[in-house]
Symmetry: C2
Subunit: 452 residues, 2 copies
Amino acid sequence: MSDYYKVSLDEAEMPTQWYNLIPDLPTPPPPPLHPGTHEPIGGPDLAPLFAMALIEQEVSTESYIDIPGGILDVYRLWRPSPLYRARRLERALGTPAKIFYKYEGVSPTGSHKPNTSVAQAYYNHQEGITKLTTETGAGQWGSSLAFATAQYGIECEVWQVAASYRSKPYRKTMMEIWGASVHPSPSDVTEFGRQLLAKDPGHPGSLGIAISEAVSMAVDDPNTRYSLGSVLNHVLLHQTIIGEEALLQLDKVGETPDVVIACTGGGSNFGGLSFPFVREKLAGRMDPVIRGVEPASCPSLTKGQYRYDFGDTAGMTPLVKMHTLGHQFIPDAIHAGGLRYHGMSPIVSHLYEEGIMEAEAITQVECFGAAVQFARAEGIVAAPEPAHAVAATVREALACKESGDEKTILLGLSGHGHLDLASYDDYLLGGLVDHEFSDADLSAAMAHVPII
Amino acid sequence: MSDYYKVSLDEAEMPTQWYNLIPDLPTPPPPPLHPGTHEPIGGPDLAPLFAMALIEQEVSTESYIDIPGGILDVYRLWRPSPLYRARRLERALGTPAKIFYKYEGVSPTGSHKPNTSVAQAYYNHQEGITKLTTETGAGQWGSSLAFATAQYGIECEVWQVAASYRSKPYRKTMMEIWGASVHPSPSDVTEFGRQLLAKDPGHPGSLGIAISEAVSMAVDDPNTRYSLGSVLNHVLLHQTIIGEEALLQLDKVGETPDVVIACTGGGSNFGGLSFPFVREKLAGRMDPVIRGVEPASCPSLTKGQYRYDFGDTAGMTPLVKMHTLGHQFIPDAIHAGGLRYHGMSPIVSHLYEEGIMEAEAITQVECFGAAVQFARAEGIVAAPEPAHAVAATVREALACKESGDEKTILLGLSGHGHLDLASYDDYLLGGLVDHEFSDADLSAAMAHVPII
């Protein structure tokens, strides 16, 4: 294996358990609170929204959860995903560092999202649910849920932010290919949507509004549940297969990472890759730096506050303790749509607060520059979200060049950018601008956050 | 392996030789002729256009040609490509047939084209060439050459049909990400292009015109050569790694195909998958039906004539004996751009004439219908070109359901459709129309073909 480029796993080597980090944490993350009573919420509060198996996973104290065969069979359409050694990028940078990247762009939708959408569709189908609703922005999550529901023959109804529905029609087409119904949000099929359209027929919508519409349709129908693509514990749990595979693959070539780098928006890609390495770190079996990378214009970890806040703009969800920029903060319209979220997964926030991980914020101009360099060296055109992790990897590799350190870097490449080429065009034409988040922005955004 | 979904090969199992079918054919294909003298052409005639190593491969009588390590290293970025058992599609169709598909969409550009672009860039670089020129329509070939030249640090200049350059900007962006220069064709950088623009500043261009521009730029500069993405013997040679891998993968699970199905435009995807199986068939080691699938609106094999014709519209290339609809035939603007070519590779034409393979023509409405069914079952959204092979596979599998035959079908899935979603949108909205090629079309198109 001295000159390998790709480290593959056979189907038979695919992990058959997800890893739950919570029991291994030195202290547990604070519980979510009811938005009205501010009391900790439990399973029954969530039952109208999620399948019971998913609620059990959300609060589970087991370290490992078996992946059912009916999920493994669908995972096999693209998993195990490849781990690459970035020999050409190393040479292009002139770094002594060894760079590995775990590539999730081989999934049917081109990202890591199906790792959880398949699991969510499976459990709902098992419990007799016949339809799932969800919201989506640019459409990556919506298309992943549409793919997953098609595998189990259940319906999928997606509310897509109207501005994206109109300006980025291709993800909508993907959802429809897989049989989903897609509404621009606000829509005329919910009471809330109709109210907003009455005031403004051309309303551009927002993720917060789309969540409200998708949730209301699930709550109103006993055979329908709602599905979320990030932030929640069970979503991050499903993604840990990424890191478990990467551990096996690095072990095959005798490597241990010194640095694990992934982008983080809601936290599902970051948690999926890094949590198994956090386990190894906490157990003293290795000691990697674990680094999350976020956009300079939406830096919830590096600039946000760690406190209870709402998950949605309207303030209807449970209150969760997380790093937040304030639930009414509207991030700049940067191209990495998957990183435009005011908050951060409670587990990731807790890890950051405990000093188990670190974080850095990078501008999108630097990210696209690094992604172009990566594409020319490694061939793969990264999505704008993992372009943030690519930029952080280039920074680390150049620091190694300076210091002479032969570090082993593991990079999470969560998806390809074949549906994001317009954003590369903006970059190549010099049209990208970055607004760095300021203290004044924070003060303004925090004014609406409840004091608990 | 009783319940496998994917048959993987390790890097170490990747074939290290391309297969040249020509020496194994019962009779050799007729030679190409000089457009002026009508005499057979040789290597020296081609030297201004192609690297010497490629010209040697074009006329080689060796059965196997070693793949240099410098090419294998780049192949490793995505090869060996996966072979899938389409268990979900089999269930959805209720067929007793076993369906396998070899998937080339995992390459950086999302199709099989890099198998030859990488080889062409490598040999030109080895011979000191510093720039490659080529033409492209929708952009799949141009982006594949741009990716390949970036791997070896040589320049790439692409002439893209102006209508596509303006209406489909994303492939242009991909080419630019990999560092290529892209001109709309006709362009103001060649004499021929300037002549056309003087007459019509908004000229939409054509593949024939773009070829003329790319060729003229190569001929005029001793450090520049030209690169073609299909039709020629050396291009099909490079693609045979697809079929060689598929043979190894089927062998791993103890299967022998009864039918091998691939779409064919210029012939590179079809030849790449099928030629190793043709070898096995001619040697009597297996007896699969080998089936090429073409669009009903551009049916060069099933409706064209087998005779000498030009490869380009302007009549500047060598004359090659092939199935042709006439070099001045302009196919309908169907969405499978890669299958819109008036002729067919001389080797594929020869195989068809000798009765070693068969062919069928299918309308695009049937193809998109089958591709949507495939996507819902298998997850992968196919490009419009391999959608033709998917449709032929569905036909075969349904015939097996009727007859009870448990045939083993091998399908070539040459690329994903993430950049072709607008065409799916047209299909889903019912906007696709098919023009079936008629005898009157043939008479009209053949009037311009020279009589040799």
